[in-house]
Symmetry: D2
Subunit: 349 residues, 4 copies
């Protein structure tokens, strides 16, 4: 009953097999191996578009380096105040951008309204030297609240960013869950809606350590290979990341994994509702935010369930009662129905 | 016949098995899993000393972050002019140290004489604000010329560094080959000789991507976890690096792998000598630098051998004849006797 | 009728004379001249405490370098959301701290409540690697709202900062106005209340370009000379900054200048009140924030008055009427009574 | 008898008068005052070309920010191994360029041969990710050896830089002395010979603190105002730097000052020769490098002469005798004939 985070899970069998298979024989290092080259083609196929793909070690690196590519002196990135960038990356975006500032703004469910973004950008007028100047807009798919951005929402924010000459970055640590959850195409959720650069995460969804920065305009990516190398993020045995992505993207394996995680979250949500708990929202992906009776939450933890209490700030829920707690529950590709059902049973007890 | 670099090899079977085995079941993320904790104990056992161990993605990251931990404004790192830091890391040490300067000095075979280090340090007097100030001394084991530092040599440089209050860093990308080649203990080659922090490389010697920064005084390491996290180098599924290291260090597997690589280099060296080629030096590890007849080198490449021409600067060899080339040849854990023998046969033909 | 900012004024006659007098004859460069040394003693006398004093070119440099001295990887500075650090320094604090984050919090009149600071600090728990970690608390004297911190207020925030092992920095761009306005001693407003490091501004109050970072514990300042030099902020002809400060601090000249500016602001405030305008607060120093009839403000601008419209956010004023504007008015050492009276006459017309 | 450095001198009377005159009355801050605007026109006139001019506080800032404007990840600046950048700026170029590396190369008298620059650039091939990539070439006028670059020499290096798409930066800390010494026009010594950006120094030659970054293509300068502001180098009372430059550039005052300094150096050089001393070279400007009898140097210092012993490395002089010393002697605008003659008399005694 591990619902703490999807990064508590291991790796899918297909990914493990691919990594093991990649171990034999020689290969050119530093991303010039045939497997790495093939993966770029696989990404292009998945996104129905040319791409430049750069593997990195972590999601933090993907986000920070993608934004650093667009950094300027005094640069400011507009993003959600609860985003991973702001809350969980220990200053990496600031560091790699040589002092980039994150300007966190509010939005229900982690979704930014175009007017909110426009207002934030307007605070950094090009002629106001002292305030700094915007360098990018960043959104998260899924959001930190577990919500999936829809194409029209993305496009509206992209229009604001592009109107100021700024790129739109998407933190896709849980991009697979968003694709599986919405049933929309990777293309519709990215470049067709105006996303310029994507942090594509595989680690949380069945890979071991497979993250990539994906540019949808290869020309724009020029020089990024130096940004990555200078960051100590160029793997010499790139094949072992490539193998993970190859298996991950093959025959929709990534969407099968994410679809399972999403289904487990939905099953869990239904069980919580059935037991009288409240959900902050219907889950779009594999994350649930729920109000539980404190006594039930305590019992679950005693029985071995792992999940985190969560701040209610930013969620659309009625105030908690004194005997209630607000929690986050995350399902993964490895979550089993039995775990969910045991959780449900303990909750209802 | 791949002798281009040891990072052209894949991963050892034991490492692959360990990674596969680690894929099942849940584990705490971000290095708080039991496997990661166990690996720290394994390192302590190998080094016969307390250690603080931090996994990172690449050797460049290990070196740059280790040195950044000691960085100061205007800081300067004394190292060999041909070191990996200087030649191959695209400014990562400078970047992570917020402007650290590398001061490369000369030394035969990549070994720095204590007097050379002392002279370099003397150029940065504490009262001379304008020159900057030294922040660390760094050496490489093996050196870029394939030579192993001996304890007395290390201790002599450590004494100079410590005399100025500076730490001694060792880039151990090929530390295993040095241990196997010298037959000395890991302890003798590090903390017993005055090394304060080690970049411990596993990738080149049979791992997939396993590098670690090892501090020999746990107190000194305080705060480094933030340096690593801010660098985007904290793996969420740390278990997959831990699994590699666990297999690597178990029952001397790492030394068996390195010993094989060294033996293959020795066999290759003997074959070159037998065929009339010249070696720059007797190999201490798995790297050879040799003068070959140009015609033989060309024939080998035509037949599929992969190796690089190399600049002669810094090597103690007689000037090349017009029909000679200088090359680097690197053996790995995966090099097979047949490859070496085929190389030898083609060379002698 | 220049009330746009105190940096529109020139320099006081005493400062000009001192600079001119310093121009003759040789002097050791880079701060080793006798005048610079004498100024450190003058600062010690003014503050009744040992000090380490470092001249820099601008207030932005003073703030950014003072905070950089305490920076750590993932470091966060708690300050007011409307502070100069946040609003007007184009990312300098972030840049010089190699990625320092500013965490702006609210407080009426620019004053931070200790509970607010404590709550902000609590978000960065030492064991929560992902959030970063606090590195300093910074307050502004005067605040951006023109309010002077009182010793008890400073001491309360200092206690919170020190309780976490953090230094308290004070941005004293208008420190002279605060001292003159409160009638309290420089010592009471700084180290006696727990301030560790002060950006001491002279430029806005009658100097040409004279800013200093003042540490109240000389030991703490160790290494700062490299931070300054690396920032390109070490003047070779330091005597010309020293001369400004020498004249500025001599015989209370700095307080006479500030006292005049404050008196002019008070006179202006009285005139505004008399004409039916509203003040956001009684001025503590040389800054006024006032609600004026729009028609009067327009007339004043037409007649040559210079001042800025200002956002009302954070000020304790009743909502503006449709025919009202909110403005900032700043008096300086050079403001003349006639200017104030002419402004008053035009306002009342 | 101050020959230690030209920054031991004060300021010229005309500069002092201009600064004093600028102190009266209000002026727009942050470089939007009429005096600052007028100075840009004065620079354009001096250089017979459009310019974008940015005042900064120090020569170190001018160099470091000019180069930072062109910085890239993994960027490397080719310059002389004895340049001020390398020897005297405590890592400022590395810091402001977020890790820029300085690649110092040799050249007699501080002059770089185009072949030397080309060879250095060739070490950083665009396809060799690991080595980094060149971002600029920088030369010094006068060189650190006191030699003036001639237009053909500049143009030859500029051609190499531009051939690689790189800008040519000139550190003009003693640009005035070079112009006065060669009798060539500012235009011929800069943009007509291919210089793209100049650090124009006034401080050493009669100003108090007046340094500027001058771009010869205004379009190229775009964004530099943020680089400067973020560096804490934007003076609020810009008029006081502008006043210095206005007086400095008016009616050739700067060249009169430099001409005097150069003449004093020449007079000193003649006296040294007459007394049997040796000069490393005929001075092009205000710096002499000379071999003196040790006994004479000691006597001079006892009598109050101030000058520095200097390393002979890089100078074209016969080996020193045991009773000889090598020294640097710098004249300034403030050097008086009597000082030179007294030095000469003591030397000959």
């Amino acid at each position: 009953m591990i619902f703490a985070s999807d990064n508590w899970a291991g790796a899918s069998e297909a990914v493990v097999r691919a990594v093991a298979a990649a171990a034999a024989g020689p290969a050119r290092p530093y991303g010039r191996d045939t497997l790495t080259e093939a993966v770029e083609a696989a990404f292009a196929s998945v996104f129905e578009h040319e791409v430049a793909v750069f593997f990195v070690a972590t999601g933090t690196a993907a986000n920070a380096l993608a934004l650093a590519h667009y950094a300027r002196p005094g640069g400011v990135v507009i993003c959600h105040e609860a985003s991973h960038l702001v809350a969980d990356e220990a200053g990496a975006p600031e560091f790699f951008g040589a002092g980039t500032r994150l300007c966190g703004v509010a939005g229900p469910g982690g979704i930014l309204a175009p007017a909110t973004v426009a207002a934030a950008l307007d605070r950094y007028r090009p002629d106001l030297l002292h305030s700094g100047q915007p360098s990018a807009v960043s959104i998260s798919q899924l959001t930190e609240a577990g919500v999936a951005w829809r194409p029209a929402e993305i496009a509206a924010v992209a229009a604001v960013a592009h109107g100021k000459g700024l790129p739109l970055h998407m933190d896709g640590a849980r991009f697979a869950n968003a694709v599986a959850g919405t049933g929309l195409s990777p293309a519709d959720l990215t470049w067709r809606s105006g996303v310029d650069v994507l942090s594509f995460g595989g680690t949380k969804n069945g890979c071991m350590a497979a993250e990539a920065v994906v540019f949808f305009d290869r020309g724009t990516a020029q020089g990024f290979e130096f940004t990555r190398k200078r960051a100590g993020q160029l793997f010499s045995k790139s094949r072992f990341v490539a193998a993970q992505f190859a298996a991950y993207l093959e025959d929709g394996h990534w969407l099968a994994l994410a679809g399972h995680a999403n289904a487990m979250a939905a099953r869990l949500g239904a069980a919580i509702r059935a037991a009288g708990g409240r959900l902050a929202a219907e889950p779009d992906g594999n994350e649930l935010f729920a109000v539980l009776p404190k006594v039930a939450a305590d019992r679950l933890k005693e029985e071995g369930a792992v999940f985190y209490d969560w701040p209610t700030a930013g969620f659309d829920i009625a105030p908690l009662g004194a005997d209630e707690v607000f929690v986050r529950l995350v399902a993964s590709f490895a979550t089993r129905e039995e775990e969910v059902d045991r959780f449900a049973a303990l909750l209802a007890a």
